[in-house]
């Protein structure tokens, strides 16, 4: 089954992806992020036709605890965050918990 890529974020963030052909997007203006981002992300995560969700790293701060946890652990669809370059903070915590060592920290040094 073929799936689509979805983008969630501010209109400035999503425009570039739409230019590359992404048609599943949720525009949430910066001012409304604290109230509307949760719903937008949940909508996309519940969509079975979406295989990958793209978000900006900084937008994770606006999510509620539950939604953020879902975003960090979701596998279908997988959420890829871009922006800060370090990858998901949740993944780092998961590595620390599972392996017992902060491998990402070790690699950065």
């Amino acid at each position: 089954m073929s799936q689509e890529i979805a983008v969630v974020g501010s209109p400035e963030f999503t425009t570039g992806f739409r230019l590359a052909g992404v048609r599943r997007f949720e525009n949430v203006p910066d001012d409304d992020k604290s109230t509307e981002l949760d719903d937008a992300v949940t909508n996309v995560l519940d969509d079975e036709g979406v295989g990958i969700v793209v978000m900006h790293d900084d937008d994770l701060e606006y999510l509620s605890r539950n939604v953020r946890q879902t975003v960090e652990t979701s596998v279908e669809p997988v959420v890829v965050t871009i922006g800060s370059g370090t990858g998901g903070g949740g993944l780092r915590d998961q590595i620390k918990r599972a392996i017992g060592i902060d491998l990402m920290d070790e690699d950065e040094q």
Partner: protein
Amino acid sequence: MAKDVKPTRKNLMEIEDRIELSERGHGTLEKKRDGLIMEFMDILDKAQDVRGDLADDYEDAQKKINMARAMEGDVAVRGAAAALQEHPEITTESKNIMGVVVPQIESSRVSKGLDERGYGIMGTSARIDEAAEAYEDLLESIILAAEVETAMKKMLREIETTKRRVNALEFKLLPELYDGQEYIEQALEEQEREETFRLKKIKEKKEAEEKAEKEAEAAEAEAAEADQDDREDSQPDTAAQSPTANE
């Protein structure tokens, strides 16, 4: 738990079987956990490279779209974005790494030719084409990152589960089974000692009874002998008296 089991040989054998099975399972799970961690290390190296490329591609795409916005205006860029006809699609196949099913994502229609983008070539500038191309490259990197990060998340989940199982066996189940085994062994040894003591006591009692019986018999025999002797002693006197009487 140790006090809950009945101290019988059957239970001891059952516990010994469970200990053997648990120890074997513990060893296998430890090997699985170590194998998963090694596989995870390989994926992590790949993920670091992919993340680096992703950051570079994002930076490049940001620069190009900002340039396009500055030169053409935001409305023109949005207009071009809204005109896109071809949409990238992904299909997922799975690969098995030590029992963990990880996805292999195949993409189609991500990179498009100039004439396939849907917006008019004449109406837009090269800046928008460059930005679109940069975002197409970024999407390719995102798809790769998604594949690697999904694999990482799944592997981490499996590592955590295996680790929890290993710990449960090592720190909960096996110590309880060892306690149970020790308790039953001690109880059986105690029973054995009690049995030996009881047998010893019975033997002593029996010996004492036999001795007493023998002593009683001996005393009886002695008494009978003494009685006989008395009788024999009294008979010659009468025999001695009778001849004189006859005389």
